[in-house]
C-alpha cells in the first residue's frame, strides 16, 4: 500500500476526520482495493451489513426548462416537439400506479417551467396528500425552490413554508452539480450558484425538512473541485444535520453539449468510496443503479455504499443522456442483488424507517 494510503487508513481506523489532501490522495490512487476496504470499514461501523432500498416512483412533470445546462439532455424549449408538461391528472395517475405497486414515496423533479404558476405545485401537493396520504412526497431540487421564489417574489423561508404546508415531505439533492464557480459557469451558467444551493438547503433544514445531496462528476470538473464540493457539504451538514444521504451522479454524455465519454467503473467506485470516507457526517451513501448500472451498483455495496435507491419505474432524465440500465427494478430483483452481495436487504421509507428487513443469505461476501 502507498504510504499516503497507510496514513489515511490509520485515520479511518481511528475514526479521525480526513483532510482535503487525504481526499485528493484517495481520488488519485489506483489502489482501489485499499480504498474499498477503508470505505467498507467506515460504512460497516455505521450501517453494519444493511443495504437500504425504497419502493418509489419517479415523476418528472415537465421537461420544459428556462435553463440550458450543457450537461443536460432532458430539458427542452417550450416549442420543441419533444417538450411535454403533465397535467395534474397525469401526475395523479402515476401516483395511483405507485400506490398499487406498494410504493411509499413519490420522487418529483422537473424543469423550470416559464409559465406554470407556483399554485400548480401547491395544488399538486395538496391533491397528492388528499388522495394518497400514505405516499411521502420528496420533491423539488434547491434550483426549483429558488425558482419558485423568483416567480412569486416570496422569500425563501416563505416558499418552503407554503410547500411544507401543502404536503411536501422532503427534498431530493439534485441541482448541486459542482459548486466551484469556474466549473459551474462552464457547465450550467444560468443555474443558481453553489452558494445559493447551500443557502436553500440550509433554509430547508431550518424548516425541519430533510434533504439529500448530490455531486455531478465525470465531466469537466477537477479532482480539487470535487473535494471542495464535498467539503462544503460536510461543513453544512456539521451545522444542520439535515442531509440524509449523499448520491454521486455519474455524468452521461449522450445528447449533451459536453464531449466526454461515460465514466469508468473505477471512477464510479472511487466517487462512492471517497464520499463515504470524507463525508463522515453523512450516514447514507447511495449508489443510484440507474446511473452506474445494476452490476456496478452491486459491487459498490462493498465500497462503502449502503443504499441502492429503489424501484424508480419511470426515469427520463438520465435516459435522455444515454443511460443503458432499464427504468425499473422489482423488489425481488433488488433483494436478490443485495443478498447475492452478501448483505442484508432493508426496505426503507423516505426517512429511513424500516419497512421490512430480509434475512441475510447464507453465503457472505
Amino acid at each position: 500500500m502507498e504510504s499516503d494510503l497507510r496514513r489515511i487508513r490509520d485515520k479511518v481506523e481511528a475514526g479521525e476526520r480526513l483532510s482535503e489532501a487525504d481526499a485528493l490522495a484517495l481520488y488519485r490512487t489506483r489502489d482501489i482495493l485499499a480504498v474499498g476496504e477503508m470505505a467498507a470499514l467506515a460504512n460497516r461501523r455505521v450501517n453494519g451489513d444493511r443495504v437500504y432500498f425504497i419502493v418509489n416512483r419517479h415523476v418528472n412533470p415537465t421537461n420544459i426548462c428556462v435553463n440550458r445546462c450543457r450537461f443536460c439532455a432532458f430539458s427542452k424549449e417550450m416549442n420543441d416537439p419533444l417538450a411535454y408538461t403533465m397535467t395534474l391528472d397525469e401526475i395523479l395517475r402515476r401516483a395511483e400506479e405507485a400506490r398499487e405497486q406498494r410504493a411509499t414515496e413519490l420522487h418529483i423533479v422537473g424543469g423550470l417551467h416559464p409559465d406554470l404558476p407556483f399554485d400548480f405545485y401547491l395544488t399538486m401537493l395538496r391533491s397528492l396528500r388528499e388522495r394518497f396520504p400514505s405516499l411521502h412526497v420528496q420533491a423539488f431540487t434547491a434550483v426549483e425552490i429558488d425558482y419558485f421564489g423568483k416567480i412569486t417574489g416570496l422569500s425563501l423561508a416563505e416558499v418552503i413554508a407554503q410547500l411544507k404546508d401543502a404536503g411536501l415531505g422532503s427534498l431530493p439533492g439534485g441541482g448541486a452539480e459542482i459548486f466551484a464557480p469556474q466549473i459551474r459557469n462552464e457547465i450550467c451558467p444560468e443555474k443558481i450558484s453553489g452558494d445559493r444551493w447551500l443557502e436553500v438547503m440550509e433554509a430547508v433544514h431550518a424548516a425541519g425538512l430533510r434533504s439529500n445531496a448530490t455531486m455531478l462528476y465525470g465531466h469537466v470538473e477537477t479532482l480539487e473541485s470535487r473535494v471542495d464540493h464535498l467539503g462544503r457539504l460536510r461543513e453544512l451538514q456539521d451545522r444542520t444535520g439535515g442531509f440524509q444521504s449523499f448520491i454521486p451522479l455519474a455524468f452521461h454524455p449522450k445528447n449533451t453539449e459536453i464531449a466526454k465519454g461515460y465514466t469508468t467503473g473505477l471512477e464510479d467506485l472511487l466517487a462512492l468510496a471517497v464520499a463515504r470516507l470524507y463525508l463522515d457526517n453523512f450516514r447514507h451513501i447511495k449508489s443510484f443503479w440507474i446511473m452506474v448500472g445494476p452490476k456496478l451498483a452491486q459491487i459498490s455495496l462493498h465500497f462503502g455504499v449502503d443504499d441502492i435507491d429503489g424501484t424508480v419505474v419511470e426515469e427520463k432524465i438520465t435516459h435522455a443522456a444515454g443511460a443503458q440500465a432499464g427504468q425499473e427494478m422489482s423488489v425481488a430483483e433488488l433483494v436478490t442483488m443485495i443478498r447475492q452481495a452478501g448483505k442484508i436487504p432493508v426496505e426503507r421509507d423516505t426517512l429511513y424507517n424500516v419497512v421490512r428487513e430480509w434475512p441475510a443469505s447464507v453465503a457472505r461476501s
Binding site: I32, L33, Q298, I299
Partner: protein, 364 residues
C-alpha cells in the same frame, strides 16, 4: 489464504478449500491474493487485448443446449449458413479496421464434416489474417461426422491453416452439470481430449468457463482444478476466460429449478469478481486471465483488472451468441485502451493468442 501459494493437488480436500475461498473469503482478501498472482506473472502492469472479429459461420446446431439462445434447427426461418462471399466481406472489413485475427465458431451443423470445415479454414486463410477457430465440440463433431480420429481432424485443420483453438464449449467441466444443461454436448473428458491433442500438435488454445447456470460451487472449483491439471500436462493454454451465463431467451431460464440455483450461485457482478479472482489464484500455471466485458460490461470488466485479470479480450466487432440472450455490450479498441489506462495499467495489443509480439499502445 493458506495453501494457495503452492501447487494445488486435485483431490477432494482441495475442492473443499477452493469452495471455502469462493464462498467465504472476504472479497478484498480474494482480490488481493489474485492481484498478487497477477503481479508475479505480469510485473510490468501490461494489460493485453486483440483487435479481431468474431464470426459465427452458422447458427444451425444439433446440440440444442438449454442455456443457448443462439442455435436454430435447420428448417427454422432464421437459420443461416454464411456464404463464401459474406465470410470474405467480413474478413476484408476486419483487415480494413486493423483486425489481425478471426475468431470462428459455429453450431454443430448436422450435414457438416471435415470437408466443410477445411473449406471454411481455407476460405479464411486466403486472407492475410490469423484464424482462431473451432471449439472442442465442433472438432469432435467433425470427427464424428467424418468417422475420423480427433488427431486426424486437428491435423487436417492445422494443415489447412488453423492457427489456434478457442476454449469454448467448456461450460462447466463436470458431467453432472453438463447432463442438465447440455446433454447432447461432449463430456468434460472429451473436451479435455481435444485440447490435449491440439496442444500435442502444437496448436495453443484458451480455456473458458460459463458459470451462473445450475452449477454448484464445488463444480466451479472442480472445473478450475481440471484445467490446471491439464495445463500441467500440456502447457498449451494461453488464457482462462470465465464468463457469466446470460439467461435471456433461453430454455434454461424458464426452468423453475434454474431460478433457485441462480439466486444461490455466482452469476452476478460480485460473484463474477469472486470467480475471476479464484481463477487467478487456482491457475497460476495459465499465463493470462481474461475479463469478459461481453457479458459484464466495460465497468465491471475494468474492476476485474484488480481481481487478477491481465487481458481485456478482443474487440469482437460483432457478437451474436451472447446478444441472442439479450446482452449486447460493445467496446471499440479506443474504449478498451482508455479503460485499461484509466485503471492505471498499460494497454498493449497482442497480435495473436499469446502476449508474444505485444506492442504497447501509443498514447491517445
Amino acid at each position: 489464504m493458506a495453501g494457495f501459494g503452492r501447487p494445488v493437488v486435485n483431490d477432494s480436500a482441495t475442492v473443499a478449500d477452493g469452495v471455502r475461498l469462493l464462498r467465504e473469503a472476504p472479497l478484498f482478501d480474494l482480490g488481493r491474493a489474485a492481484d498478487a498472482v497477477r503481479r508475479r506473472l505480469h510485473p510490468d502492469g501490461i494489460v493485453t487485448y486483440i483487435v479481431d472479429r468474431n464470426i459465427n459461420y452458422t447458427n444451425i446446431c444439433s446440440c440444442g443446449c438449454s442455456f443457448c439462445a443462439f442455435y436454430r434447427k435447420k428448417d427454422a426461418p432464421d437459420a443461416y449458413v454464411l456464404s463464401g462471399e459474406e465470410l470474405s466481406a467480413k474478413i476484408v472489413d476486419t483487415i480494413a479496421a486493423g483486425g489481425v485475427r478471426v475468431l470462428l465458431q459455429g453450431g454443430l451443423h448436422p450435414d457438416w464434416g471435415i470437408g466443410e470445415a477445411v473449406r471454411l479454414v481455407r476460405a479464411v486463410k486466403r486472407h492475410p489474417i490469423l484464424l482462431h477457430g473451432f471449439s472442442p465440440p465442433e472438432v469432435w463433431h467433425f470427427a464424428h461426422q467424418s468417422k475420423m480420429t480427433i488427431g486426424e481432424v486437428i491435423a487436417r485443420l492445422k494443415d489447412a491453416g488453423l492457427d489456434s483453438i478457442p476454449g469454448g464449449g467448456a461450460e462447466i467441466l463436470d458431467d453432472e452439470v453438463r447432463h442438465r444443461i447440455s446433454p447432447k454436448k461432449i463430456g468434460w473428458e472429451q473436451w479435455a481430449a481435444v485440447m490435449r491433442e491440439a496442444h500435442r500438435q502444437g496448436l495453443r488454445s484458451s480455456a473458458t468457463m460459463m458459470f451462473g447456470s445450475v452449477e454448484t460451487p464445488e463444480a466451479i472449483v472442480a472445473h478450475l482444478l481440471r484445467v490446471r491439471a491439464l495445463q500441467e500436462e500440456t502447457g498449451g493454454f494461453t488464457a482462462f476466460i470465465p464468463w457469466v451465463f446470460q439467461s435471456g431467451n433461453t430454455e434454461l431460464s424458464r426452468d423453475p429449478r434454474f431460478g433457485e440455483a441462480s439466486a444461490a450461485g455466482f452469476g452476478h457482478a460480485v460473484g463474477y469478481l469472486r470467480v475471476l479472482a479464484l481463477s487467478r489464484i487456482l491457475l497460476p500455471n495459465v499465463p493470462s486471465v481474461q475479463v469478459s466485458w461481453v457479458t459484464m460490461g466495460a465497468k465491471v470488466a475494468q474492476i476485474g483488472l484488480f481481481f487478477g485479470a491481465d487481458d481485456f479480450g478482443s474487440t469482437m466487432m460483432e457478437e451474436n451468441v451472447v446478444a441472442s440472450a439479450g446482452t449486447s455490450f460493445r467496446m471499440s479498441e479506443e474504449e478498451i485502451v482508455a479503460t485499461v489506462r484509466d485503471a492505471g495499467f498499460t494497454p498493449a495489443h497482442r497480435p495473436g493468442l499469446t502476449g508474444a509480439g505485444k506492442r504497447e499502445t501509443g498514447a491517445a
